[in-house]
């Protein structure tokens, strides 16, 4: 083999396929997937379906709770469940997930307590869960910053040698940030066991992908880091799971990081505060609704005869339970103690913080006396 062919092969290995990997068409029928990908077992797909049903119900409930003022804000991921649940199912319990603000459904699907997941958006604390306990980083708001943390964690896991991996989630908009670039480069140079999943949902708030990149697709960014890349139909759970599982296993075996772009769509507004009519039309939403990942997987599984009416009904019932518990739990007022604000700035409060704490304590005491509201107006 000449040096020329060897290099060409390297490049070919790094480039994504021209078309996104797909196992299931929009109508739920099976299509022939490209070579080299293994369809996940039916049991796992049924489990995925169950979590998608719950995830969607959770998402709808959370959106509803914003209207009742129970959540400060909620970024819906309706339409992106195949990505989020595919990501979670590709991981083992000991693996780490680095999510964004839009990935609450992934977290709930990972088994995190829904109320703890919603702390950030409810406003009682910035992160409601214990990241180390659930191997899930805090949901990240500053875009793409978490992708580098994911590399650092992956390097930490590599050093410990237990074969654990990291999966980092990021949006299409987030890929434009310098941190995304630095993360991919660090991952490749360090051969860190990390998989980057870009949920390309077509928009960064109002900005469409065409203003975000001129690349043939975001997956083409991988080659610039010497990182294998793939694109996948992000509304096809089967494909997402197949592609991510392969990438995760590659990382686990010490064969390095990879980049996966999932083509998907958020069916709702950016958050409840957003007005999407200003930047996209209903026809586009309708077209993507027809590619909804949830009925697609249902049709596919029913078509294969591995999902029954009863199972579907059970999923729906389970989802209702989750929603109901969420409603009930978020109806309870949180009685936080403002003095806790001083407890976690440092391991031990500084003399300055102790003074300020005393000042607030006095203000609160005074406010309580006067039955007034303490602090700012």
């Amino acid at each position: 083999m000449t040096a020329e062919t060897l290099r060409q092969q390297t490049v070919d290995r790094l480039l994504p396929s021209l078309d996104p990997v797909r196992f299931v068409a929009a109508d739920g029928s099976a299509v022939e997937a490209p070579e080299g990908y293994v369809a996940p077992p039916d049991d796992l797909l049924r489990e995925a379906f169950a979590r998608m049903v719950v995830g969607r119900r959770f998402d709808a409930q959370a959106s509803a709770l914003t209207r009742q003022g129970r959540l400060a804000v909620y970024p819906s991921s309706r339409g992106q469940e195949a990505c989020q649940i595919g990501a979670v199912l590709a991981l083992r319990e000991r693996d780490w997930l680095f999510p964004t603000y839009r990935d609450s459904v992934a977290l709930v699907s990972r088994g995190l307590d829904p109320v703890e997941v919603l702390s950030l958006l409810r406003g009682d604390w910035h992160c409601g869960y214990d990241p180390a306990a659930v191997r899930t980083a805090p949901q990240c708001t500053p875009l793409a910053t978490q992708t580098i943390h994911a590399v650092g964690m992956a390097d930490a896991l590599r050093r410990r040698g237990a074969g654990d991996v990291v999966l980092a989630l990021v949006g299409d908009g987030g890929t434009s940030e310098g941190d995304f670039h630095e993360a991919l480069n660090y991952a490749a140079v360090l051969r860190a066991p990390v998989v980057f999943l870009v949920q390309n949902n077509g928009y960064a708030i109002s900005v469409p992908l065409a203003r975000q990149t001129a690349a043939p697709s975001l997956a083409y960014k991988g080659v610039g880091y010497g990182m294998p890349s793939e694109q996948v139909d992000g509304n096809d759970l089967v494909a997402v799971l197949a592609v991510l599982s392969r990438a995760v296993e590659r990382a686990r075996e010490g064969r390095g990081p990879s980049l996966v772009e999932a083509h998907t769509y958020r069916l709702e507004a950016h958050t409840n505060a957003d007005d999407p009519s200003r930047y996209r039309d209903e026809a586009e939403v309708a077209a993507w609704s027809a590619a909804d990942p949830l009925p697609r997987l249902e049709t596919y599984l029913r078509g294969r005869g591995v999902l029954s009416d009863a199972e579907v009904a059970a999923c729906a019932a389970r989802a209702e339970e989750v929603a109901e518990r969420l409603r009930a739990e978020l109806a309870v007022e949180v009685l936080g103690d403002p003095l806790e604000l001083f407890d976690h700035v440092f391991a031990t409060p500084t003399p300055q913080l102790r003074e300020q704490r005393a000042q607030l304590a006095a203000e609160l005491a005074h406010g309580a006396e006067g039955a007034e509201e303490a602090g700012g107006r």
Partner: protein, 339 residues
């Protein structure tokens, strides 16, 4: 005269600047068809086209760096950072280039550009959306730093900032976006940039404030008056260049001073004011200059905003500690004794 919210006044300022000067360009994240998340750029793309008001890829160093290049090329960029903490990725561009270009080129490559930053809290937003970041910029030589506290000032300060030959970091107090006021956009008065304004006259003590803290200071002055204490309230409007003269004149007259800022206090702009006032008015002072500020903690989650934000009560507490009774304040008396 029209009644406008601060957001609409800013919108009008951008619109008028775009109309008057072909070189003015507005860009940032979501400033185009969406009109910005606070709608400050609403309708600008429709009126002026996507060449004059446009969405960029999502990268703040890129936004500011692009502005630097366009300003080098003779344009007057006015860029939006979506929220305070999301300007941090652009910090190197701001500190190492925006602030220094005129100086490093001996005045040959000035960068007249405006970086608009919605800042501070009080709107129930989640972490990273509520930082008071003005001190980072005010501490950086070469940047002008401006922050309006009223709709009329918002209009005129932004016009001044766009016309200014130097780069201006224009900090917009988010929670005042919806506060309304009569705005006269017709005739330009004396430039507002660089001049503090006395919002309320009083003889007993001076309260120095800016941006989101001005309404708090004014409300406190109202309450204090009911207790017989007449506070003079200064709205700085511009942190750099600071209008020392107005502050000094007032404190020399009142003999007492409280500085109010929403930002965490440590090494903030309020520290600068307090340090300057005691340097320049020492022999007029009947009591130490006191500071009222946010605590030195990361901005709290929405549930605890009220506990953190310096409110009327905290301002009044400080005012009442200004030793009107001529008794020394013993708050810190115990300190340092035992060492």
């Amino acid at each position: 005269m029209t009644t406008l919210t601060m957001a609409k006044a800013l919108n009008a300022a951008l619109r008028d600047a775009l109309r008057e000067d072909e070189g003015v360009l507005v860009f940032g994240e979501d400033v185009g068809p969406l009109g910005g998340v606070f709608r400050v750029t609403d309708g600008l793309t429709a009126e002026f086209g996507a060449e004059r008001c446009f969405d960029t890829p999502l990268a703040e160093a890129g936004i500011v760096g692009l502005a630097v290049g366009l300003a080098m090329g003779g344009f007057r960029p006015v860029v939006e950072m979506q929220f305070d903490a999301f300007a941090y990725p652009a910090f190197e561009q701001i500190a190492s280039h925006v602030a220094k270009s005129r100086n490093r080129t001996r005045g040959r490559l000035p960068l007249p550009l405006v970086i608009r930053i919605p800042f501070a809290g009080g709107i129930g937003a989640v972490e990273h959306h509520c930082d008071s970041s003005e001190a980072y910029y005010a501490h950086t030589p070469g940047l002008k730093v401006v922050t309006p506290a009223s709709a009329a000032d918002a209009y005129w300060l932004l016009r001044d900032a766009i016309d200014d030959p130097d780069p201006v970091v224009f900090m917009e107090p988010k929670r005042l976006y919806w506060s309304e006021e009569e705005v006269d956009v017709g005739a330009r008065a004396v430039p507002a940039l660089g001049r503090a304004v006395v919002r309320r006259r009083g003889r007993d003590a001076t309260v120095v404030s800016y941006g989101p803290s001005v309404p708090v200071a004014l409300e406190a002055a109202g309450e204090a008056a009911r207790e017989g204490i007449e506070l003079e309230v200064i709205d700085l409007r511009t942190l750099v260049p600071l209008d020392d003269a107005t502050v000094v004149e007032s404190v020399r007259r009142t003999g007492r001073c409280v500085v109010v800022q929403e930002a965490q206090g440590f090494a903030g702009v309020g520290a600068e004011i307090a340090a300057r006032v005691q340097e320049r008015c020492f022999h007029s002072l009947a009591a130490p200059v006191l500071r009222v500020a946010g605590f030195d903690i990361p901005y709290p989650p929405p549930f605890f905003e009220r506990a953190h934000l310096p409110g009327v009560d905290r301002v009044l507490d400080a005012v009442f500690r200004l030793q009107f009774d001529d008794e020394p304040d013993l708050t810190h008396a115990a300190e340092g004794a035992g060492r």
